[in-house]
């Protein structure tokens, strides 16, 4: 493949408003969308605001919506588009715009603070933690999360419902509760903290109706809905009071 000129439409603006702006820009073999955004900065729009960091899919900074789909710009290869296709890049829709492709993601940091932390088991010395691999693997899957917040962006509970943001922690932080709840040595219960109950009562677990949008956009391929949210729902309430759990069982046909 040789280089070619691609058509890009990039949203530019600030909290007072903005618009899609058209660019024609060179694309070379093997490049990703973030390379193209950087080329725009270097050649055509030096003040184009974009958040990025590792450019290797590990830090979760360069989240945006590409042709309407929440993705990491550094992991979206240009080869997934045809040469004729116009590539449209817009900021995450669920969060307020700061400038251009940069959004204010402080919602996520506020929610992170509301989740009670790991409770170390009393009386166990630091070098005496013993856990089996099979028991840590469930929580380890959730700890692969790079906090790109694509799941928070795509989740329809808040995507078009600003009013739900107060009551709903979002998939990432409900998954964090599941992670702690499944930690083999977390001593929350002994300290009088029922994580399952708080998930339901304080963090809006009930708002989730397991449409799996979060799982679909996760760049780490974490099975957020199946492995974190549904088990948490099962633990949180008695089955007969939550028809969604029953429905979830039907849909995913998980083993009992």
């Amino acid at each position: 493949m040789t280089g070619y000129d691609a058509s890009f439409r990039v949203w530019r603006g600030d909290p007072d408003g903005g618009a899609l702006k058209d660019f024609t820009v060179e694309v070379n073999e093997g490049e990703v969308v973030l390379d193209i955004i950087h080329r725009l900065q270097a050649t055509q729009a030096p003040d184009l605001a974009v958040r990025w960091n590792c450019k290797a899919g590990k830090c979760g900074s360069c989240s945006a919506e590409i042709n309407g789909r929440p993705r990491l710009m550094c992991m979206t290869r240009m080869s997934v588009f045809s040469r004729e296709e116009v590539v449209t890049v817009t900021p995450l829709r669920a969060f307020p715009v700061v400038r251009d492709l940069v959004t204010d993601v402080s919602f996520n940091y506020e929610k992170a603070r509301e989740v009670p932390s790991f409770v170390p088991p009393p009386g166990v010395a630091p070098d005496e933690y013993r856990m089996q691999q099979i028991d840590v693997e469930r929580s380890q899957e959730f700890r692969k999360c790079i906090e790109c917040f694509l799941c928070q962006d795509t989740c329809h509970v808040v995507r078009d419902h600003e009013e739900n943001k107060t009551a709903f922690a979002g998939p990432r932080f409900l998954m964090r509760i599941a992670e702690l709840d499944m930690h083999p040595l977390d001593a929350a219960e002994e300290s009088g903290l029922d994580r399952k109950r708080t998930a339901q009562e304080d963090h809006g677990l009930g708002y989730c109706n397991i449409t799996k949008c979060c799982t679909e956009v996760c760049p780490e391929q974490i099975r957020i809905t199946d492995n974190a949210l549904i088990p948490l729902k099962e633990r949180a309430v008695d089955r007969k009071y939550d028809p969604l759990v029953w429905l979830g069982d039907k849909i995913t046909r998980r083993r009992s």
Binding site: A42, N53, K58, Y129, Q132, Q133, R143
Partner: protein
């Protein structure tokens, strides 16, 4: 000009990677009101990219391991140039720093008996790296981040304010360490990247934990933040930088496609059994075992392969030599015409492990090659080549306290500090370094801040000067009326360092690099940007350029001065390691800012003799290879 708001804290930590967060946790737990300031979002620092693990001699995989063995490996890896006291503290304290992470919620991979699993890595005698698949850095940063949140929750319960005693200022940049009239540290001058607003954090103690300098090189595994900020801040505040000629080129970065060139391929690939081959299919590393390591590495493929199962009766394969050796070997193979199609060599796990094992042990690598290069590493070899990865050099500090020598109140930990790794760092020793010296920096900064050091406000004149400096790019046109594009300057700098002060160095090329750096410095004064101060990446880069040019000159000047080859400093015109150079440290300090000679002046110092009980951990025959005559008989 707008007035900069001032806030008062006890300790300001610059940088929120592993070292910065560990320092902040310690300072806050010692009672200091602590502010952390970082260029990225909280939890995104470069530490997330560390893959292989944390080196600590817990002895979970081989009971023969202990701190003395770890110390020995570290000194050998650094070719005995290490500040031995730092290497000692590091080896002694690393296990406690790892275990402590579990009490904060970290979940490492386990051994069969439920302890923390440990893996093999280059230069480490025993399996020593605590790890989580190949995403150990993410686990480390997330654990520290969540520990900080838990401390903030405590403060919220106590006084209704999450940020009363520990606050993270994210997406903010520090452009100057400020000093009071007596020359003591008084705080930092900062701006918010989002708004461009200036502010001052006043504090008697400042901890630099800003990481490295890789963004001065074209091919690098480092993220955009690695612009040598802390190195430059320290220089400008009057500190010295030590060992700046030693830059680590990681042997295995991706080489194709071009846009991802330099992205790291973890050393765990080799630790877990991956092998390097040239275009003739030969495992060429057997030809590159240097004399000092001859008796410690396998001489045949059969022996190397047996070692994975029976390490007590076989020697390790030479793919697991320290990184500097492997990087040079790859470089030589490519030069000799035995490279892969895209100018690297082949790294193969596909013929060494079942596909399922590869996906489980190296999930990020599997994903990275699949997504970015269309290569399935379970079925075909990777193509890899050296990439600028780490700077051994950094702020000259007191080994025990992490305080910058000569600047009271300034501390440095992690990659920005120098000395710990000598001329070459072993894989896995970075994450342990962050934790050990991050904690020490936080501890001693808190202690210093609660001491008798008077708190006098930073003089207005300094704040005004810092603000004027930060605004200069907006009126950047030079005398000729033409503004330089900061992106162009940055690209030229990266090309210069890559080509002229890279993995193999020559005197004339380094002189050429210094001339080019002088030219770039003049042009950078005319760097201009468009737009306004709100989240303006062109402006941010124009400010980072000052730092990159300063540290690049340190690297080039020290590399020209050191007329030998050792660790991460290889001179084609001076190929031998000279015992006389072992005790010599080159210190960089700021010269007259308008001097034609450049901005950096060099000083030579002789290091303190290695303590005798530490020396006695080595065989005499081994010491003879490194130490000068007079050191042996002292």
């Amino acid at each position: 000009m707008t007035q900069a708001e001032r806030q008062q804290w006890d300790v300001v930590v610059v940088g929120a990677g592993g070292a910065g967060l560990r320092a902040a946790i310690e300072a806050r737990e010692r009672g200091a009101r602590t502010a952390v300031i970082c260029k990225s979002l909280f939890g995104k620092a470069h530490t997330v990219m560390a893959e292989g693990g944390i080196a600590a001699s817990m002895g979970n995989a081989n009971a023969g391991d202990n701190w003395q063995v770890h110390f020995r490996d570290t000194m050998r890896g650094g070719k005995f140039l290490n500040q031995w006291r730092m290497a000692e503290l590091h080896a002694r304290e690393a296990p406690d720093r790892v275990w402590e992470l579990e009490t904060w919620g970290a979940l490492f991979d386990r051994t069969k008996d439920g302890r923390i699993s440990q893996r093999n890595f280059g230069g480490h005698e025993y399996p020593r790296l605590a790890h989580v698949g190949d995403r150990t850095g993410l686990e480390l940063i997330r654990t520290l981040q969540q520990k900080i949140v838990s401390l903030q929750q405590e403060d919220f319960r106590d006084c209704g304010d999450y940020e009363a005693r520990l606050k993270v200022f994210q997406e903010c940049t520090v452009t100057r360490v400020l000093k009071d009239d007596e020359g003591r540290v008084g705080g930092t001058f900062c701006y918010e990247r989002e708004s461009g607003r200036f502010f001052v954090l006043e504090a008697p103690a400042v901890v630099l934990a800003t990481g490295g300098i890789g963004k001065s090189f074209k091919v690098t595994s480092n993220s955009w933040e690695y612009t040598g900020d802390g190195h430059a801040l320290a220089l400008l505040a009057g500190a010295r930088l030590v060992n700046m000629e030693f830059v680590q080129f990681h042997p295995t970065g991706m080489v194709w496609p071009p846009s991802v060139k330099g992205i790291l391929v973890t050393e765990s690939v080799r630790g877990d059994g991956g092998v390097l081959r040239n275009s003739d299919g030969e495992r060429f590393m057997f030809d590159y075992v240097p004399d000092v390591f001859k008796d410690k590495y396998a001489e045949s493929e059969e022996e190397g392969d047996r070692w994975y199962e029976d390490p007590d009766n076989n020697r390790r394969p030479p793919e697991l030599l320290p990184r500097d050796e492997v990087a040079r070997a790859i470089n030589s193979e490519v030069k000799a015409g035995r490279g892969s199609p895209h100018g690297g060599v082949f790294l193969d796990v596909s013929t060494r492990m079942p596909a399922e094992t590869i996906r489980r042990r190296l999930p990020s690598m599997y994903h990275q090659f699949k997504e970015l290069a269309d290569v399935d590493i379970t079925a075909e070899p990777m193509e890899v080549g050296p990439t600028c990865h780490y700077v051994m050099g950094g702020v000259a500090v007191e080994s025990d306290t992490a305080e910058a020598i000569g600047v009271p109140g300034l501390f440095a930990a992690g990659e920005v500090a120098g000395g710990m790794h000598g001329s070459n760092r072993l894989g896995g020793n970075s994450l342990s370094d962050l934790l050990v010296f991050g904690r020490r920096a936080g501890l001693y900064a808190a202690r210093y801040a609660s001491g008798p050091a008077a708190r006098t406000p930073v003089p207005d004149a300094q704040v005004r000067a810092a603000a004027a400096e930060a605004l200069r790019p907006f009126s950047g046109a030079d005398a000729g009326g033409r503004a330089e594009n900061p992106y162009t300057l940055h690209q030229e700098l990266q090309q210069t360092m890559n080509d002229l002060v890279g993995i193999i160095r020559r005197e004339e090329e380094m002189r050429q690099a210094l001339r080019k750096l002088a030219e770039l410095r003049l042009r950078a004064r005319g760097a201009g940007v468009e737009g306004h101060r709100q989240f303006n990446p062109g402006w941010h880069l124009a400010l980072d350029l000052r730092n990159m040019l300063l540290v690049s000159e340190c690297v080039a000047r020290a590399a020209l001065e050191r007329t030998e080859s050792r660790g991460g400093h290889t001179r084609e015109d001076r190929p031998a390691m000279e015992r006389a150079w072992r005790r010599v440290n080159l210190l960089c300090r700021i010269a007259d800012p308008d001097s034609d000679e450049g901005q950096i002046a060099l000083e030579r110092t002789t290091t303190e003799p290695i303590r005798s009980d530490l020396l006695s951990l080595f065989d005499k025959e081994e010491l003879v290879k490194y130490l000068a005559e007079e050191e042996l008989y002292e």
